[in-house]
């Protein structure tokens, strides 16, 4: 695209190429995620083998717990799905040369990196990072010495979040504008692959949701730094009346969850899109009910903004809100279920290839099923009363937005690895990685549903004080811990496979999966800055012309013109 000379710095470091930025985002997010994984190991070691390690005390436990949650949700999942996949896939899949605002895109990554550095700095400051829980509920997060890390830790956390939101906004504006303005000739909205739809809708959601966190975060920062009382009523801490009054802790919860629940879908919608790509491509079938899939994504996004207070059923808010939020929450199960049915129906009468990306696609379906279904008792307000803040919740959200999202992320990375690096990964290691992660995830998180039904509260350093637990509970906790250690270690297979294959893997064909979407039709692999050579592609058909009757091969790329010998599967589209 550009004739001018690119130095090492502009090509790989301060690059404005969406693909390089995507890789930067992905590597950074994976490293941060690896750190979050080690934190979860330490948490599980404490719960499985309490008292064995002296550096694990309640203070450090709650700090690691808080950092694990925030790191995984915001700095890994959100960053990798929007910054990583969004950046790589949007321009390539819609036939654009780059993002609409390449400089802003580059800035987005560097601002994200800054937010990560500020987040990590909290581990080095006096008092350490905040231990107020990832939800940062005041007054716990706002009062001096109420929680560990109440000095520097909480302030750095809030500052890091504010910086992250700036990065996410730069990225989000870019993704939305690019999808709306930069699609190549023939690429109508209803011809876009579902990955692009998922990332697009999630980006729109992010632009509406993050401001609520921004506002809540800044107000909480003021409560911390300036002594304001936005969220602090008259309180007595350690026998001392504090000079604060008039604030309302529930206001923060509303702001937090007005962001926090859409955030779940900001993570899940791109994952849904990616999973759709994996499942359709590798079962050699068009995605079942494309239009319904797009409508379901949009419906989830819209209803997703009307369910936030289901996190607050026992918060002390007006109890009549419970009726509304229970109904809205369970309504959202319908579009979610439609998606599951359509993935299953995509497999139906397919020709399923069991390569690593597909295995993760299958793993996605199964973990999204269990993760999604277990949201129903929590949304059904009265059933939430006993389950709220128990291990049932921990099992639910880990499966649905942790494991399921990671299934899509892993599958997606394996799937697009040949395009990104021009080399193939090791299939055998990939399959092993899948099996250990998939089975292990069930072993870790399924027992948590039973612990939750039993009434074991979450965020407990140990369970010694609980008298109503059967003695076998500890055994179950040991099983969970051992499984967590194994699953964590198995992620080294993934990282090792990526690193080794990126350097030494066999050369990949331009379109090794025989996929229809545009990113596989680039003239060179990996695609250079500018993606398309002299001319951008023209699109003639929808994204899922797999196994079209009468066609010579079992896929027809989107840029193949319609002729009598290469018909389009769906004429209406």
């Amino acid at each position: 695209m550009h004739d001018h000379h690119e130095s090492f710095w502009t090509k790989y470091i301060f690059s404005q190429d969406h693909k390089v930025i995507a890789i930067q985002y992905t590597i950074t997010a994976l490293l941060v995620g690896l750190f979050g994984l080690v934190l979860s190991w330490l948490l599980r070691v404490q719960l499985g083998f309490p008292g064995k390690f002296s550096f694990l005390n309640p203070g450090s436990y709650y700090q690691m717990l808080t950092q694990h949650g925030m790191i995984m949700i915001v700095y890994l999942l959100t960053a990798i799905l929007l910054g990583g996949f969004g950046n790589y896939l949007i321009p390539l899949m819609i036939g654009a040369r780059d993002m609409a605002f390449p400089f802003l895109n580059m800035l987005s990554y560097w601002v994200y990196l800054l937010s990560v550095l500020v987040l990590m700095a909290a581990f080095l400051v006096p008092g350490g990072p905040t231990g107020a829980g990832w939800t940062l509920y005041p007054p716990l997060s706002a009062l001096p010495n109420a929680a560990p890390g109440s000095g520097w830790g909480i302030k750095l956390m809030l500052i890091s979040l504010v910086i992250f939101i700036a990065a996410a906004t730069m990225g989000g504006l870019n993704y939305v504008t690019t999808v709306l303005q930069c699609r190549t000739k023939g690429m109508t909205l209803m011809r876009m692959p579902l990955s692009v739809w998922g990332i697009f809708i999630a980006s729109v959601m992010a632009l509406f949701a993050f401001p609520a966190l921004f506002v809540g975060g800044v107000m909480l920062l003021f409560d911390n730094l300036l002594g304001t009382s936005f969220f602090i009523p008259a309180v007595t801490l350690f026998g001392q009346q504090l000079p604060r009054e008039g604030g309302n802790p529930l206001l923060f919860q509303h702001l937090f969850w007005y962001f926090g629940h859409p955030e779940v879908y900001i993570v899940i919608l791109p994952a849904m899109g990616i999973a759709s790509e994996l499942i359709a491509t590798h079962s050699r079938k068009p995605i079942f009910g494309y239009k319904a899939m797009v409508v379901a994504l949009a419906a989830i996004a819209i209803i997703g903004f009307l369910v936030w207070a289901h996190h607050m059923f026992v918060s002390g808010m007006n109890p009549y809100f419970g009726f509304f939020f229970a109904v809205s929450t369970l309504i959202i199960a319908i579009p979610s279920a439609v998606k599951v049915y359509n993935w299953l129906l995509t497999l139906w009468r397919g020709n399923i290839r069991f390569n690593t990306p597909m295995l993760f696609g299958i793993g996605w379906i199964s973990t999204f099923i269990i993760g999604g279904l277990t949201g129903l008792p929590l949304g059904n307000v009265i059933a939430d009363v006993p389950l709220h803040d128990t291990y049932f919740v921990v099992g639910h959200f880990h499966l649905v937005m942790g494991v399921a999202a990671l299934m899509a992320i892993f599958g997606g990375i394996y799937h697009w690895f040949p395009k990104i690096t021009g080399r193939m990964f090791n299939e055998r290691l990939g399959k092993l990685h899948f099996l250990v992660t998939f089975v292990g995830a069930y072993m870790i998180f399924f027992p948590m549903f039973l612990l939750g039904i039993l009434g074991v509260p979450r965020r407990y350093f140990d369970f010694e004080a609980l008298q109503y637990l059967p003695p076998q509970t500890h055994g179950l906790n040991i099983v969970i811990t051992v499984a967590a250690l194994i699953v964590g270690a198995a992620q080294l297979l993934f990282l090792g496979n990526l690193i080794w294959s990126a350097v030494r893997g066999p050369r990949a064909a331009a379109n090794p999966w025989h996929a229809t979407t545009l990113e596989w039709q680039t003239p060179t692999t990996p695609p250079p800055h500018g993606n398309w050579g002299a001319e951008t592609p023209t699109v003639y058909r929808w994204a899922y012309d797999y196994s079209v009757p009468g066609a010579e091969r079992d896929f027809i790329p989107q840029n193949v013109p319609l002729t009598p010998t290469v018909p389009m599967g769906v004429s209406a589209r």
């Binding site: 005390n57 309640p58 709650y62 509920y137 007054p139 716990l140 009062l143 929680a147 560990p148 009523p233 008259a234 309180v235 007595t236 801490l237 009346q241 309302n248 802790p249 079938k285 068009p286 995605i287 079942f288 009910g289 319904a292 026992v314 918060s315 002390g316 009549y320 009726f323 229970a326 109904v327 369970l330 319908i334 299953l344 129906l345 497999l347 020709n351 399923i352 290839r353 069991f354 299958i362 099923i369 279904l373 129903l376 059904n380 009265i382 059933a383 009363v385 006993p386 803040d389 128990t390 039973l450 039904i453 407990y460 350093f461 008298q467 109503y468 076998q472 509970t473 797999y546 196994s547």
Partner: protein, 272 residues
């Protein structure tokens, strides 16, 4: 590819079936399940069990369907997938079934919830006060009314922040350690917090509600079994969160009144 597809298709099938069987076996073992119910809230258990049954059926059906599909439609050379982009009829049926399932679990849930948020008029009032990291309790005394209390009056001599100018406060009775309740009498808790958010959770009664500084929150129940139970904290409240618990003793009315008579009153112990 063909050979490998057969192998991995069988493995995936086996793993999915094993997960379903393992999950059901873990539930059927009955070791980790509800603590025995000790309150009137069998409706909560009922609504929860209906919900668990509906999602359990969906979990088993969908995973077994997935297992079947990956076994049945694995890749083989020379065959081609069928081009089926859509089927509005199937989609409508599935949406209908899903909506029905949701109505089945939501309707009894909402009905039970409406009872949960409507305490009976004759319920005995007990105040619960949370702080880092213990629970304490206040009973209304012979007048049956809790005296006014406000956070601004809390001091080392006035743990609850009781307003001594309110005559109704003087006969209030305080317990700094245990919650005692008479069996088979409705109780409504008025829950407060001195410092951060806590959550008053009695697993055997199935109910919980956050204790929020600056607010009074409520829930009600009828203890139906005599015995010793436990209240725990269910909202992260600092480094002592996991140790914040309190005995809950349900006993006959006579024994309860006997115990109550031995506890300190506001008039005798609280100084301005």
């Amino acid at each position: 590819m063909g050979e490998e597809s057969i192998g991995m298709s069988m493995v995936t099938f086996g793993v999915l079936v094993a997960i379903v069987v393992g999950a059901l076996a873990l539930i059927a073992s009955g070791i980790w399940w509800f603590t025995p119910l000790a309150s009137n809230w069998s409706e909560i258990d009922g609504a929860l069990l209906i919900t668990l049954a509906v999602i359990g059926i969906a979990f088993v059906t969908l995973n077994l369907a997935l297992a079947y599909l990956v076994l049945r439609y694995r890749h083989s050379e020379g065959t081609r997938a069928q081009f089926i982009p859509d089927n509005p009829k199937i989609e409508k049926i599935l949406i209908g079934v899903t909506a029905l399932g949701i109505i089945i679990l939501l309707a009894p849930g909402l009905f039970a919830y409406s009872r949960f948020i409507s305490p009976p008029r004759d319920a005995m009032v007990v105040e619960v006060l949370g702080e880092q990291w213990r629970w304490s309790y206040r009973y209304p005394g012979p007048d049956g009314k809790l005296g006014r209390a406000t956070p601004k009056l809390i001091s080392s001599k006035n743990h609850f922040g009781i307003d001594l100018t309110d005559p109704a406060a003087h006969d209030d009775i305080l317990s700094y350690t245990e919650l005692h309740l008479p069996v088979n009498r409705p109780v409504v808790l008025h829950i407060r917090s001195k410092d951060v958010i806590h959550s008053f959770f009695i697993p055997s009664f199935r109910a919980k509600m956050d204790a929020v500084p600056g607010m009074v929150t409520h829930y009600w129940f009828i203890p139906t079994r005599e015995g010793r139970f436990q209240a725990v904290c269910a909202e992260l409240c600092g480094i002592g969160h996991h140790k914040m618990q309190s005995p809950v003793i349900v006993e006959s009315l006579e024994k309860f009144q006997e115990w109550l008579a031995k506890q300190p009153t506001v008039a005798a112990t609280v100084k301005p």
